[in-house]
């Protein structure tokens, strides 16, 4: 079993064997890592960040906030109900709209709209938001996440994308500032 003297040839062959397997391992690791990281490096699949109609603008009466549901454009056949996503549509004054994600800006629970007190309330940790989505009270650090939206040919379109989360939604924050609430 000695690795000295006459067995240097075997020793070298063993080292070669290790080197060979290291190279094979590295070659195989490339596709494996790419496969695992595909949600990150796979690029934007068609449907990411696409404009999607929520239907006719007339469904959303002026001055009211209504729940709308859309089917996520990136969908697998086995997604079931999970690809149907709700959002809150606020028709501010007949011309201006705001569309909010259902997810609380704190930890993503579904916020509910209370038209009587004009507040969004979260059932999980007690976050509350004013009708324009700005933070009213509770643990959230910011207002509700808003979708980019536009009105074309009488239809309300929103830009769908990733699930919003407090740490990664910096791009959404801009649409939040469309209408700053007067500090009541």
């Amino acid at each position: 079993m000695t690795l000295l003297g006459p067995s240097t040839r075997r020793e070298m062959l063993m080292k070669l064997g290790i080197a060979f397997n290291t190279i094979v391992g590295a070659i195989l690791a490339v596709p494996i890592v790419k496969y695992i990281m595909s949600p990150v490096i796979g690029g934007e699949k068609s449907g990411y960040d696409s404009w999607l109609s929520l239907g006719d603008v007339t469904q959303f009466p002026a001055g009211e906030t209504r729940l709308a549901v859309y089917r996520n454009p990136v969908v697998n056949p086995w997604d079931g109900d999970t690809a149907d996503l709700p959002c809150w549509v606020r028709n501010v004054d007949g011309q201006n709209f705001q569309v909010f994600h259902i997810n609380c800006a704190h930890l993503g629970c579904p916020v509910r709209w209370f038209p009587q007190s004009k507040l969004f309330m979260c059932p999980c940790h007690g976050g509350a938001y004013y009708e324009d989505g700005s933070r009213a009270s509770g643990p959230p650090e910011r207002g509700l996440f808003a979708y980019d939206h536009k009105i074309e040919t009488g239809q309300l379109f929103i830009k769908t994308g990733q699930i919003p989360a407090p740490g990664i939604a910096s791009s959404d924050a801009s649409s939040d500032g469309e209408e700053k609430p007067p500090c009541a």
């Binding site: 695992i36 990281m37 949600p39 990150v40 990411y48 729940l67 549901v69 996520n72 990136v74 969908v75 697998n76 056949p77 086995w78 997604d79 079931g80 109900d81 999970t82 690809a83 149907d84 996503l85 709700p86 259902i102 997810n103 704190h106 930890l107 993503g108 629970c109 579904p110 916020v111 509910r112 209370f114 009587q116 007190s117 004009k118 507040l119 309330m121 979260c122 059932p123 999980c124 940790h125 007690g126 509350a128 004013y130 009213a136 009270s137 509770g138 643990p139 959230p140 650090e141 994308g161 990733q162 699930i163 989360a165 407090p166 740490g167 990664i168 939604a169 009541a184």
Partner: protein, 492 residues
């Protein structure tokens, strides 16, 4: 019997393993360790075996598809013979496993078992706690119901706080842009292959070290651990006053593990399986997601952290806690083992236990959440409306309609997010009431834009009636003084 013996001999002549097993089983352990305090590790292992067995049985039926998982659980619960029982065993087995692992950890901590030379045994034990909690969380996700769906949303939000890598981690966790089919399949792979693989590996290393280094001796006050002498002292102890692990100590492990398995089965029969709760349909927003029992404390912590503390606490907290646990044997690797001489260790355990217990208890009734239907389902107590003016009763109506009741309780009914208002008139004057309602503050939203002046007046006049009988409502001292100085003038 002779046949069995013959087959056994034939096998061992080829496997060559019998001697090793015998030596391991009969290895000498300190006499005092044949104790009912030393049964938790083996019980955790036995419950883990139950989890493997019941997990495989559930996998015969369960469909890891976002569209079908919930239905397959219903079929397990209602159509498959004893499917409900296997689900119950697996669910309760999970709770028991986390509980036993925690108890085991407290025991080895209080008995100083993490000290030299068992540092690595403790560290692998910490990893075992983490993977056990990982199994509990991923298992909760596989029970693909509303709690699982929104629980994933909470996981996404927490993971997104990681600096730089946040959005990567979220994408890897979800397998796509939203919580959907790809998310469930990855949690299935984690729960069924990846984490159990780690768990088995860690258990093997953990057990190997327990056998090689010997079980921690019963700590005696004054018997100090010193690196220079400990191993020699331990060997003397096992040689002089040792007993063979099998059968002298193992029978207690067996009795305890058996009792635990019976308890799991009893819970499965009596309480049944966990859920599933409502369908994982995100458009059903009338839901109040709750995590499973062993994550309730975390749920409470997340609602009490002030917004400014949240990101630092989420990022630094786990690093400090896990890092502290891993480093513990290096900081306190020598010295006293007995809990009788380690008051700070005992106090730490008590403090952590009381804190986790209190947080868990709070999370069972979530005083921080508004009671979403209080305004429409809980009437104002009748005695709060007796002998009130029309304006005050109108104010009571405003109180209900504007959902004040969701956050404020009257006569112990209603939300506990804000203070109870049964005696609010003692604490705030008219002007302060109006200001609080209109401007909010102190964690209360401002209602200025949502209340007409008439509504505000009515509401405040109702709130002014909320004070115990015989105790006058608060009044503005300045105004009272002005009124007082006028009064004598009218009666000269």
């Amino acid at each position: 019997m002779r046949l069995i013996e013959t087959i056994g001999k034939w096998l061992d002549a080829r496997l060559q393993i019998g001697e090793t097993i015998r030596e391991t089983a009969e290895h000498s352990v300190p006499r005092d360790t044949a104790s009912w305090f030393y049964v938790f590790g083996s019980a955790a292992l036995v419950v883990f075996m139950l989890q493997i067995a019941t997990g495989i049985m559930l996998a015969l039926i369960y469909v890891p598809s976002a569209g079908q998982a919930w239905n397959s659980l219903q079929i397990l619960n209602h159509s498959i013979t004893l499917g409900w029982f296997i689900r119950g065993l697996h669910g309760w087995g999970s709770d028991f496993m986390v509980a036993i692992v925690l108890i085991h950890m407290v025991q080895v901590f209080l008995f100083g078992a993490y000290k030299y030379p068992r540092e690595l045994t403790w560290m692998v034990g910490v990893l075992l706690l983490l993977v056990t909690l990982g199994m509990a969380f991923t298992g909760q996700v596989l029970r693909f119901d509303q709690d699982a769906y929104w629980g994933l949303g909470i996981g996404v939000s927490i993971a997104s706080h990681v600096p730089l890598m946040g959005s990567w981690i979220v994408s890897l966790m979800l397998g796509g842009p939203i919580i959907a089919g790809a998310t469930l399949t990855r949690f299935f792979a984690l729960h069924v292959f990846v984490i159990p693989g780690l768990l088995i590996g860690f258990v093997a290393v953990h057990l190997l070290m327990v056998i090689k280094l010997g079980i921690n001796e019963w700590p005696m006050p004054g018997r100090i651990v010193r690196k220079a002498t400990y191993v020699k002292e331990y060997h003397e102890l096992t040689k002089k006053d040792g007993i063979p692990f099998v059968p002298a100590a193992v029978w207690k492990d067996m009795f305890f593990s058996g009792a635990i398995l019976l308890a799991v089965a009893a819970c499965a029969i009596y309480f049944g399986p966990f859920g599933p709760s409502g369908q994982p349909d995100p458009t059903i927003i009338q839901t109040a997601p709750r995590p499973d029992f062993f994550f309730l404390w975390l749920y409470a912590v997340l609602s009490f952290l002030p917004p400014s503390m949240e990101t630092p606490a989420m990022l630094i907290g786990p690093v400090v806690v896990i890092g502290g646990l891993l480093l513990l044997p290096f900081i306190f690797g020598e010295g006293e083992k007995s809990w009788k001489r380690r008051p700070i260790a005992v106090l730490t355990i008590l403090l952590v236990a009381v804190a986790l217990g209190t947080l868990t208890h709070l999370a069972t009734y979530t005083p921080w959440s508004p009671v979403m239907d209080a305004w429409s389902s809980l009437p104002i107590p009748a005695e709060y409306l007796h002998n009130r003016s029309a304006l005050e009763r109108q104010g009571a109506l405003v109180f209900q309609v504007k959902q004040c009741h969701n956050c404020h309780s009257l006569d112990h009914e209603g939300g506990k997010r804000g203070p109870a208002l049964d005696a609010v008139a003692l604490q705030l004057t008219d002007d302060q009431l109006i200001r609080q309602v209109i401007q909010g503050g102190g964690n209360m939203p401002a209602y200025g834009k949502n209340l007409s002046p008439a509504e505000t007046t009515a509401l405040v006049s109702f709130l002014k009636t909320l004070h115990p009988e015989g105790r006058p409502p608060a009044r503005d001292a300045a105004l009272a003084h002005a009124a007082g100085s006028v009064a004598p003038a009218t009666h000269p």
